[in-house]
Symmetry: D3
Subunit: 132 residues, 6 copies
């Protein structure tokens, strides 16, 4: 199995509902350093997993409408806790859409899975992985 | 699959028995930067893998009686080489106990696995992963 | 010259005023990984720059009323852009207060300077350093 | 499952053929920070996955004829794009050879898999993993 | 004293002349992770050291004609060893030019110094710092 | 001013005397990731601060009789608290000796200073810097 990972980040505000979140129920924020991993069984004819330039652009695109936002006011996320886990899934699903719509190039059809890790600090991070 | 990781560390002394260990057969020590990863198939009703505050506390607890110790003198570890691998398993098993005893909260029953990585330096680390 | 650094972090929301900030004029947020460095010419009689336990506590204290907050609503910061640079200075000045008030222990009177670095992402950080 | 990882690096020049590579079709270069991970189900009688000293030596050996080279002129690699992915596979396969030839010690026969990650920058890396 | 640092990278090929360089006399390459630090005594009226967006653009610009190149063939560098130290100075001097030509904005005239660090691997880096 | 830094590490056991050290008065241990920085005003005729190969060897040599040791039993350190700060000074002074004795090469006479940083964990480190 091969995989390639690209890294970007976003800076957002949000708040959580639920006693389990303690002080994070208040409006606060986070820098999420985001790692997107694309995997496949065999390399394409160029010897790559995915066009790393396109992967970087699609990751940036997946973060674009979240970056520099208060997620409490993003309609797509209304009524949900935008935890690190939930955001990892959202971004992975968006990248899966990029693959399906051909924006990662023709050979990206051979991709088998996507994993997205969001680092919320130097001591905590979350990952969501899915098949394609 | 979702996962959440929290990081802590411990500083211990120990020695190894066996020629394979070379100079590490002498009494020496290590800082282990410890990453504990909890995984599950679906998020709980709060949108999380595990209460990150409790996970951090349980990890600290799992390291507590090892930290600032000479492991050669810890009764639970008597007669064993306390390699990075062995310690990763010990800590993962302790965290599995935390889950089973309910100390990670009621929804932690949905956890599927635990992985523990111990970084012994910037150029070497070991991981143990197990199901729950 | 000797120095010791301890690391902690905080997660905040804020917004900026001024065209130079572009999209960061919107309410957004950041995780700041905070490094506090204490320096002095000679070590104290214990062979240390500062009691690292107390330094860690004072750093945590210096971040306490900012962490999990919307800085736009913190009275002490009213009317100021809470840039990474401004926050580095605020935290360094608070730690200088800790030294002056004796909360870092009696030998901390020998400290010569404090520097505080706030990492806002994996590709940007800011530092403020001052004498004592 | 247990694993142990050791890290080394190499500094190479190369160029790629194919429009997908854009400016990287020109002769350029890379530092690859290389992580080699060895895994197995049970520890050996010393309580380890693999002799970490030998693993480090074998990794260094696997990089030896590539390091400080222009890969475009290495006969073994003629006619191939030496992408990060391709190099990860090459190094993993060489390490698999080390295991098979007994250079990682007698108990290394219990190893189940090898994964090799090449970090080409702080924002991109690739992994190849295989069974033994 | 305040400072702000931004990070980018470049991937180049080159070779060195001189016995001191050993195998690095051969054509090889490097990824340089580049940190550019701007410093000043007082913040500007926006509360910043420098417009971080412009700083990032200027750093990218300073690396532009070096990135994905064989430095042995860059006319500006002819006859020089393009060591990590030499490249750090080159980039710092280019950024000083950016400041002098006003490309970092009007308040950048208050900048006091620039430092550039090039990381050539996880175990080696070089810095050049200069006044403005 | 130019500088070059090389990184190595050592794994030691030790204990401290003094109430300020709390549980670290017990025999415990540490991995110290050690960064040695050499600085000078102008580069030598090869375009370097120091022969990085020799610098790496000398750093390894400076750590050699400490690595895999219980520092409480090293005669040179008898009666001293081997704090991170004290060890940073010891290693810097040893490297200064390397320079003075010519082991870093003839042009190393132009070196102006040495700084040594010991990272004891991901959240704490200490530095000692001196002139030559």
């Amino acid at each position: 199995m091969f995989s390639v990972t690209v890294r970007d980040h976003m800076m957002i505000a949000h708040s959580f509902r639920g006693e389990v979140f303690g002080p994070a129920q208040r409006l606060h924020g986070a820098t999420f350093v985001v790692d997107a991993t694309f995997s496949r069984m065999e390399l394409d004819s160029d010897g790559i997993v995915v066009d790393i330039g396109r992967a970087t652009e699609e990751l940036r695109g997946a973060l674009g409408d979240l970056n520099y936002r208060n997620l409490d006011e993003v309609p797509e996320l209304a009524g949900r806790n935008t935890t690190t886990e939930v955001l990892a899934q959202l971004i992975a699903d968006r990248l899966a859409g990029s693959v399906e719509e051909g924006r990662l190039g023709p050979s990206a059809g051979g991709l088998a899975g996507i994993a997205v890790t969001l680092h919320e600090s130097h001591i905590a991070w979350a990952t969501y992985e899915r098949t394609l």
